[in-house]
Symmetry: C2
Subunit: 234 residues, 2 copies
């Protein structure tokens, strides 16, 4: 039998397993068994902890967002210069590549949010929090005289988050000419106009593969696309 765990521990594990399963099979396409397998358990065990699957999925999304947001906050926590802070924040809002787990999960939610109020609220809340985050950075920069805002800080912040979101989708969809670097460039173009600051990227604000340590459970399940590669693109 699989190692027995305490209720709390197992729930945390399940939430993470659900997160991984959803990324592989879609937020709405996941199956109980896939989550169970991801957790190294049987479906019965999963149901024992979450009699209603939807609760688990929502918690998983919630956790994913929390993690995403916390990572961003953490990344800028040590930076004093508003300009560097802004640049770093922009980068941290984008996926590192098409396989970035955190952003993949968020993208999954986009469509579902239109049909499911809870998901809509979850996503909306995250958006608002990110706007607030940017707004703070902008305001502080303006107060210090580093930024000369070309408009309302909320308006600028909203557009910054919007750009992040949209380029996140492009990167996830594997746009041929828009990767993380290009997206940062595009968003910075807007940020410069809005802050009147040159916003030069320093080596410190660069990539630095320091985020989710990749797939985690190796990549054996890879290669097999969820939806079998459709024969032809119409």
């Amino acid at each position: 039998m699989t190692q027995r765990k305490s209720r709390a521990d197992r729930r945390v594990e399940l939430i993470d397993a659900a997160r991984r399963a959803m990324i592989q099979h879609g937020a709405e396409g996941v199956h109980l068994n896939q989550i169970a397998e991801e957790a190294g358990l049987t479906s019965g065990a999963v149901l024992y902890h979450y009699p209603d699957l939807r609760d688990l999925l929502i918690e998983a999304h919630h956790a994913g967002m929390e993690r995403f947001y916390e990572q961003r906050v953490k990344k800028i926590s040590g930076i004093a210069d508003p300009a560097q802070k802004l640049i770093t924040t922009i980068r941290s809002g984008l996926p590192e590549g098409p396989d970035d787990a955190g952003v993949r999960l968020l993208c999954e939610l986009g469509g579902a949010a239109g049909r499911n109020r809870v998901y809509g609220t979850l996503l909306t809340t995250l958006y608002d929090r990110q706007v607030a985050m940017y707004q703070t950075i902008l305001e502080i920069g303006a107060a210090q005289g580093v930024f000369k805002l070309a408009g309302d800080s909320e308006q600028i912040a909203r557009n910054l988050v919007a750009l992040e979101d949209a380029y996140g989708y492009r990167i996830i969809a594997r746009h041929h000419s828009i990767g993380p670097d290009e997206a940062v460039g595009l968003i910075l173009d807007f940020a410069r106009m809005s802050t009147g600051h040159p916003l030069k990227e320093t080596p410190a604000a660069r990539p630095k593969t320091t985020r989710t340590p990749r797939p985690r459970n190796g990549g054996p399940a890879r290669g097999a696309t969820t939806t079998p590669p459709p024969k032809d693109a119409s």
Copy 2:
């Protein structure tokens, strides 16, 4: 027996039925029977025309995009003034509300694009076409001396489309304070900075409920949310 149709006619109908079904149940969550019902046929008939469901779904997405894009082009076809053209284009890229069918379908695709190459390509292609559309408007405006571009036209165009996309998602997710009007306002703020033009909205560029004639088959299937309204958030 349901009215018999020619192969071509039926396929067109099925594509539209699939489009509607996907909006209601998710791009990946639709079931054959739901599409059949939407078309007023049995599952067998659907399979007769599309032995592989995925082909139908892809065609439906393709058609949805084409329709979306054509509508935009049509809306600006008669406008000569670059500024009005730009404003109208911006508005036409946004959903009219949380239930806007065209945009709903596009949003559905966002998540799937990360897992399905065909969808990714479809979405990417649409993005590029929209960028080109904006770029043309910008370039013409600049050539006429109406716009003074604050940067590369492609860069500006990319950001414009990105903003549209992102606010589309917000509106679909029912953000409490961002509706079509607010989104237009936010995007226009960026457009003004980029073009150096005041871009005043004239009554001509306003809403004017002239798009998809609403649900089509009445709203009987409504009310019943696909995913039954999850008990509690978090």
